[in-house]
Symmetry: C2
Subunit: 212 residues, 2 copies
């Protein structure tokens, strides 16, 4: 800024620890917007404000950059949910409600999560690593949380006993939240079913369907 808002190029030397996340962020935006094949390395460089060649100083290929990009944005995804789960004291019904509400709130707010999800859907077939990553780090974690809530509800006598270990039920319970995200991707904020509306119907169906 000190040299004007668009100083053409003040060549700025940064430590790799500072440059790398900058490139990854730019790459996430570009990949999200264009998909793998459509993304251009030159555009990534442009978004990061550097020359294209510099990317190859940090990543050997477009492929490697893509994988690093997806891996780089996964840590904080389930932290909040897992914290709520372990710290909760009230009824299982309340816990379920809080988690579902949190899910829909994230759908509405966090564009980065939708973006990441779409990237996985789009490219999983061509990057087997990505599919494995989704299965182990995302789907497995999410269903584990759902299953824990169901078991807690059964243990407390709030839910009917069959739901404690019904295979596939955890997936079915969280599917509507994920589909809300998909609809939002496809239709955009204005035309997709409203998250609040889906959330209320979802909770209503769940509480009636699970209760003892």
């Amino acid at each position: 800024m000190n040299a004007g808002p668009d100083a053409p190029q003040a060549r700025r030397r940064l430590a790799p620890e500072a440059r790398t996340p900058q490139i990854l962020q730019a790459a996430l935006e570009e990949f999200a917007e264009r998909g793998y094949a459509g993304a251009r390395m030159a555009a990534v460089a442009g978004r990061a404000g550097i020359a294209k060649g510099l990317i190859y100083h940090y990543f050997p290929s477009k492929d490697a950059l893509f994988q690093a990009t997806v891996h780089a944005c996964t840590q904080p995804l389930f932290e909040e949910a897992e914290r709520q789960l372990s710290g909760h004291a009230g009824s299982a019904r309340e816990l379920l409600g809080a988690l579902v509400r949190m899910g829909y709130a994230r759908i509405s707010a966090d564009q980065q999560e939708r973006t990441l999800f779409r990237l996985i859907i789009t490219e999983a077939e061509r990057f087997p690593d990505l599919a494995r990553f989704y299965r182990e780090e995302m789907l497995a974690r999410a269903t584990a949380i759902a299953r824990a809530v169901l078991r807690a509800g059964v243990a407390a006598g709030e839910f009917r006993p069959e739901v404690a270990d019904m295979p596939g039920l955890a997936e079915v319970v969280l599917a509507p939240v994920l589909m809300a995200s998909v609809w939002r991707m496809i239709l955009g904020e204005s035309d997709a079913p409203a998250p609040g509306v889906l959330r209320d119907a979802h909770l209503d169906l769940l509480l009636r369907g699970l209760s003892a």
Copy 2:
């Protein structure tokens, strides 16, 4: 050779009515496998067994070919469900069960439907036409069917009255089927949650959650 199984090129002249669907089918395969940006016109021509130039005799650009491809494979999608709905005589619970079972069966069997769905998810942002098409011709039709079943169940006294007009409920009811399809896209047949397992849990939750 000239009558062999791989006669190099027996130039065959076809009427446009015969050539067009052939090109569209080849394009669907190529777009499905590679996405819009990744698809190559030369590959489409190869799959169709014609020269690349001929495609431009029928479609002015890759863009136009893409839109035509998606539009061309939509008719038969909901016919079966709508037929079942209008012709059904038994209880609403049975009808719901039959429709849900049909949905999961299609997920398992029909690769073309998954393919089309992924194409829409992937490219909707860049082709607004596609988003509109999905909303009006697919989502709206599917929710209409679900709503009709819910209303029939309430009218017959099988479902509790609130579900007849709860906004968003139709979407929530069919979300697990669609997510089963998405999981199948991401994880492949071997690693995705088994459709049969999801179906049973889904039906159990629905019948308990909707019943009066």
